[in-house]
């Protein structure tokens, strides 16, 4: 294992590899500071480029995107009181309040450094999980993997937003959309309506861009140019932010580990990781001090956690082939395109790739933090450019990304159709992430179901692993369905009147997955 880790380390440091990792980090930073655009959009944008590369480089680039979005999304949260992505909503409460007091620089530097440590701790947790999980994971056969997929789908359905029933319904729809095209286990085409375009099923990149990017564009544009007028001055206090991290090292460690834990549970992910950590901080803080009115601890806790969760989310993705979030589902599908089967066998056949991912995750977090600290002023200025000015550039890139999927006009039609569907789902309170995850898992579930029933008949239901995971699924679904209470109540922070947008935005971002 150590040899594989060392080999992967030197592979990550190769110039080509490093260059594409930096490209991923750059795109991740750019997407992070654009309010409303999350990791899925960033990864979907780079998927076409990734598929042109070798698996190690392509996947490292995608990891680069996912790793740093939660670093740069702090800019709009602190400077404008608008969440840059789903993971930075709680940062607004204290971060924006600090900016109002002229301490934006201190809040940002504390957030960046906390993010870096969070990301590195996440990568470390992933590394440590390998020897522990290896024997367990390798004992899994197809029936257990099938049950894990079902558990993942149920959790994602139940935990996406406040509507568990809708989450499960949408996950079912995603499974159905995934059945379009050639059948997995029989020589037949399903729902092709006579169009050759549909023989291979719907392209993942187009579906994900349509579902997630287009609805955000419409809402951001229709909301107008308010973003540009609300930038706060950076002020000084960079070193103070670094000192805050040293002073509150325990918070960084504790919330990073909590972030890893949250990331590991499929479906929990980015939507609540920051609120959960912020809520825990508020409940456990001995001295509430300025919490809620501009306390640096309120920035450190969620920022450590939201970067660490990526390491956590990679654990079920890599080891069981069950994505921890919609972004991880995209990564999972990238594996499949590269011909790599995620799951237990990865630890045997692709251990070096696993370590490439771990090193890339750690390195991307460090690079992202350095970039944010070095280029803080120009990046802060970029956040004040109206979205309407940037939109044509981004939309053209999205169109290229979508059209290259099969180079067929059908790509453009599917992009528009799923864009409208995503927007309608958002309007009607349907979470979109379960649809994407169901879509991606559909062939996997069908194949595993077929192999399981053909090989084991009904006896697979009596396997101890299957029964255990089945019981765990039922328990988690029941507990998850009852989880209705908000983690942080807005009344706790009556003083932060400037941040009243946060809860409303939280709802919006929730469906990002």
């Amino acid at each position: 294992m150590i040899e594989a880790a060392l080999a992967a380390f030197f592979m990550v440091l190769e110039p080509t590899h490093l260059m594409f990792l930096c490209l991923g980090v750059f795109v991740g930073l750019a997407v992070g500071f654009l309010p409303g655009l999350g990791g899925i959009v960033g990864m979907a944008l780079l998927l076409p480029v990734a598929f042109q590369l070798d698996p190690q480089t392509g996947i490292a680039m995608l990891i680069g995107v996912a790793a740093v979005i939660t670093t740069s999304d702090t800019f709009p949260s602190v400077l404008m009181g608008i969440p840059g992505s789903a993971g930075s909503q709680a940062t607004i409460i204290d971060g924006y309040a600090m900016a109002q007091k002229g301490q934006a620089a201190r809040a940002l530097s504390a957030a960046f450094i906390a993010s870096m440590f969070g990301g590195v701790i996440g990568a470390l947790a992933l590394t440590l999980s390998l020897p522990i999980a290896r024997p367990l994971v390798l004992s899994f056969a197809t029936p257990e993997l099938l049950m894990m997929s079902i558990l993942g789908l149920c959790m994602i359905g139940v935990l996406s937003g406040d509507a568990p029933l809708k989450g499960l319904l949408v996950a079912g729809l995603g499974l159905l959309v995934g059945t379009i095209g050639a059948a997995e286990v029989a020589p037949a085409y399903r729902y092709d309506m006579g169009y050759d375009y549909l023989f291979d099923g719907l392209p993942l990149v187009v579906v994900s861009l349509g579902l997630f990017a287009l609805p955000e564009f419409v809402d951001l544009l229709a909301r107008g140019g308010a973003i540009a007028k609300r930038g706060a001055a950076l002020g000084g206090g960079w070193l103070e932010g670094a000192r805050d991290i040293v002073r509150h090292w325990w918070l960084v460690l504790r919330h990073s580990l909590m972030g890893v834990g949250v990331g590991m549970v499929p479906g929990l992910g980015s939507a609540i990781v920051d609120w959960m950590n912020y809520g825990y901080l508020v409940q456990t803080a001995k001295h509430r001090g300025e919490l809620g009115r501009g306390d640096v601890r309120g920035v450190i806790a969620p920022e450590s956690a939201n970067n660490a969760k990526e390491g956590g989310a990679l654990i079920p993705t890599l080891l069981f082939g069950v994505p921890g979030s919609a972004g991880m589902a995209l990564l999972l599908s990238a594996f499949v395109v590269f011909g790599i089967q995620p799951g237990p066998r990865m630890l045997d056949t692709n251990l070096s790739l696993v370590f490439v991912i771990i090193w890339s995750l750690a390195l991307a977090n460090i690079l992202g933090t350095i970039a944010c600290l070095v280029f803080i002023r120009p990046i802060a200025r970029l956040t004040t450019i109206p979205f309407s000015t940037m939109f044509p550039v981004i939309f053209l890139l999205v169109t290229v990304g979508a059209f290259q999927a099969t180079r067929h006009v059908g790509d453009l039609i599917v992009l528009a159709a799923f864009g409208l569907l995503g927007w309608l789902m958002k309007r009607h309170g349907f979470p979109r992430a379960p649809l994407l995850i169901g879509f991606i898992l559909s062939p996997l579930v069908e194949r595993n179901l077929w192999i399981t029933t053909q090989r084991y008949g009904l006896e697979w239901l009596e396997r101890p692993g299957v029964i255990t995971i089945g019981l765990l699924t039922v328990i988690l679904v029941v507990v998850g369905s009852r989880r209705r209470k908000p983690i942080v109540r807005h009344e706790e922070f009556p003083e932060t009147t400037e941040t009243t947008e946060a809860p409303a935005e939280a709802g919006k971002e929730r469906s990002h997955g």
Binding site: F217, L396, A416
Partner: protein, 169 residues
Amino acid sequence: MADTRDATIFPAFAGVPWGVRIFDLAVGGVIGLAIVGALDLPWAAKLFPISVGVATLFLWVLHVVTTWRGARASEAAFDATSESAEGWPAVRMWGWMLGYLVLLPILGFLPASVLFVAGFLKLEGRTSWLTVAVVGILALGLTGGLGLALNVHWPQGLLGDVVPWATTF
């Protein structure tokens, strides 16, 4: 988080809006079509879509019953009233995006993109011609570069038959 919902949603749900009903019915229709469309397939090919379809239909019925009765009313309209853009601005933005996606195969990449970028920045962004030029060059340069790198061949549109360069870089 939940307070916005409490404050804004419940009053809106005295009755289920028609938009919600139509969307719900459309979702049900799609599930129904998926089940019916799989019936004629060979056994191995139809087993999975029909099983998933029936389970999803069951969830849909549960959803409709609870939502339309009002039990889950707050969730059904959560996104609808709190943040999603609606009305004329949203229609206009969809118009720009769909318009570009329609024009692309008809006019070819270059003319459609120039029209889209210049039109959007002038009419929606109300920017200066200088900004239009800078953003236009950036947009076309980045997209063209990416297109070249990925070896993308744009659809040969109506104009493309007459002026081949319009569809390619």
